[in-house]
């Protein structure tokens, strides 16, 4: 009995260190549930090294500085997929090897950031919109992005500490595309946002949930996944879709160039796209699944959850952040710094 467990242990160690049967996943923290990873190892015998990053920039920087770093799967957001693909940092996907792609919602495929999904497969997605505490304000009175500028929200507003997210609000309020590269429009958005600053209580870099939950801020612009958690924890919170168009974010699975375990990476992507697995991931994390077959297999209360699965007519008007090139990025950054200083 004893040597049996020893052999198993040795096998496990062998598995961890044998070159072929490993996959190095570089992902957001807890973005793939442990149960899913265990199941993957059980089904395929592939040992998973799961390490984490905290921002797209971090991921990009690391791959850029050391292209042979050895990750097999990464999960960048849409605009970083576009940028990394443009700079030749991603492996072109052979979609024939990914039969489970048929399960993915066509509304989330073939987006401008990655036409034809040559480099990325949606992993999870969501929206960015307004959360309101109805103890203080009537949610019905907030219908457009412009409403955030009202004086009654003085020092009450929570925004994400993310340059593009914040500028999207300014641009959308002015009716411009959130992916504009027009310097004049960007400047106008900056001037508009400056007027919003008195209302801003904080830019939250992480942990927006407790701030809304404990009512340190009473109105905010947050991600739908967070909103789902917030509304569960504080019954007075309402997630509102603006009429002036919503913002959609998509986090994608990609394979970096020079991935040492390419075959395993394909196996992993295919595995994730199984409806059963996609359902596990989405249900455990509370983020929306792009896997339409999986969604149809979920309980009704989730399928009809307006926060996680907004109706088609709202979804169709959504914009997704794309990459704008270094010069435009620098311009945004310039105004972002000006904005922060003015606060």
């Amino acid at each position: 009995m004893r040597y049996k467990s020893l052999i198993i242990l040795l096998m496990l160690i062998g598995m961890a260190y044998s070159q072929n049967n490993v996959i190095n996943i570089y992902n957001w923290s807890a973005y793939t549930p442990k149960s899913v990873i265990k199941l993957f190892t059980k089904q395929t015998g592939i040992h998973v090294n799961y390490t984490t990053y905290a921002s797209n920039e971090e991921l990009y920087e690391k791959l850029k500085a050391d292209p042979s770093i050895g990750y097999d799967i990464i999960v960048p957001s849409s605009y970083f997929v576009q940028r990394m693909a443009k700079e030749g940092m991603l492996e072109k996907l052979d979609l024939k090897q990914l039969p489970n792609l048929k399960n993915i919602n066509p509304l989330l495929l073939n987006k401008p950031y990655d036409p034809g999904n040559q480099y990325s497969i949606p992993y999870l997605w969501g929206t960015t919109s307004i959360i309101v505490n109805n103890k203080y304000y009537d949610p019905k009175t907030i219908t457009t992005w412009n409403d955030l500028w009202q004086q009654r929200f003085y020092n009450q507003l929570l925004l994400n500490d993310d340059m593009r997210d914040v500028f999207s609000i300014g641009l959308a309020a002015l009716g411009y595309s959130i992916n504009t590269s027009d310097p004049e429009q960007i400047k106008q958005a900056y001037l508009k946002l400056r007027q919003l600053m008195p209302n801003v209580k904080l830019f939250s870099s992480d942990g927006a949930i407790p701030i809304m939950l404990d009512e340190d801020a009473t109105i905010g612009v947050v991600y739908s996944g967070d909103a789902e958690q917030m509304t569960k924890g504080n019954k007075k919170l309402r997630y509102v879709y603006t009429k002036s168009g919503i913002i959609i974010w998509i986090d994608c699975m990609s394979i970096p160039k020079n991935a040492p375990h390419l075959a395993n990476a394909y196996k992993f992507i295919n595995f994730i796209m199984q409806p059963k697995i996609a359902k596990m991931i989405s249900m455990q994390l509370g983020y929306s699944s792009p896997n339409i077959t999986a969604v149809h297999g979920m309980p009704n209360r989730i399928q009809n959850n307006m926060i996680m699965y907004p109706p088609q007519n709202i979804l169709a008007h959504g914009q997704t952040e794309g990459y704008l090139g270094k010069a435009t990025q620098a311009l945004y950054l310039h105004y972002w710094e000006l904005l922060k200083i003015s606060g």
Partner: protein, 283 residues
């Protein structure tokens, strides 16, 4: 005699080689990077330029630099004011107590500074412990809004950097011969004078070390002001982070770091010079 030279050679070479490869070399790379152009797809273009430095002569940068300096100087003064008496008392305790107290001061810092900052949030938030306490004691009638202001970020900075002040101070004060103070008092010096003219000059190396270890990191710490201050302003740390991460402008990020380094070197150099003169006067 041979072994004496051997010791010298070993001692010098180990640290020299180590720092040459792992510190000087990276630093030289940063210096070089600061004179390159930002590349479009690659990180750099191999064209020498000084644009990364001329670009810094603008009001935004100067404003941010000044604000960061003010914040770090305040942090340092507060740390010194809180830490000096602490180290002073600590150094006079019996040896057994001293070690225990030293451990006690460092233990809180063995938890993640991030998690600690969030614990501070729990204390400072609108419905948090501090407000509840003050409200129950009827000291205030409205909850204080401290969280997500610069005061909160100042609290966080002082809290996080205090041991960097206390430890060097303790290290110098610990070896201090307290009989000197007694002698001075016997000679008629009052307590304050004895302290000012004997203890302070002798602990000067500790003060300088502590000030360096607090002031310098405080200039570039970015996540405490972000978490506790609500990220409503930009400090130097954020600026550098933005250039490296958001703007992917490594040359500019590098040049800001270099300017910072030289400015700090200048500051410390001036201080040393000033201090030396003062010492000579004293002697």
């Amino acid at each position: 005699m041979m072994s004496n030279r051997l010791f010298k050679i070993i001692a010098i070479n180990i640290i020299f080689i180590w720092l040459a490869v792992l510190a000087l070399l990276p630093f030289i790379m940063v210096v070089v990077a600061s004179f390159l152009q930002q590349g479009d797809e690659n990180l750099f273009n191999w064209h020498l330029t000084v644009i990364n430095y001329t670009q810094l002569i603008n009001p935004i940068f100067l404003h941010i630099f000044w604000r960061s300096l003010v914040v770090s100087v305040i942090t340092t003064i507060l740390c010194l004011a809180l830490g000096y008496p602490f180290a002073y008392i600590l150094a006079q305790l019996s040896e057994k107590l001293r070690l225990a107290c030293l451990f006690l001061i460092i233990i809180p810092f063995w938890t993640s500074s991030l998690i600690r900052s969030y614990a501070i949030i729990t204390i400072l938030k609108t419905q948090g412990l501090l407000n509840q306490l003050l409200l129950t004691l009827h000291l205030i009638h409205q909850p204080l809004h401290i969280l997500y202001t610069q005061y909160a970020s100042q609290v966080g900075l002082v809290y996080s950097l205090l041991p960097f002040m206390v430890l060097p101070l303790y290290a110098t004060l610990e070896k201090f011969d307290w009989r000197l103070v007694d002698a001075a008092r016997d000679l008629g010096a009052n307590r304050l004078r004895a302290f000012w003219q004997i203890v302070v000059p002798i602990s000067a190396p500790g003060i300088i070390a502590g000030v360096m270890l607090v002031l310098l990191p405080a200039m570039t710490l970015f996540y405490i002001p972000e978490i506790l201050g609500g990220a409503k302003s930009i400090l130097l740390g954020n600026l550098i982070k933005n250039q490296f991460l958001e703007g992917q402008n490594w040359p500019l990020g590098s040049s800001i770091s270099i300017v910072l380094t030289f400015f700090m070197a200048l500051l410390i150099g001036v201080y040393w010079k000033f201090n030396k003169n003062k010492k000579q006067v004293l002697i």
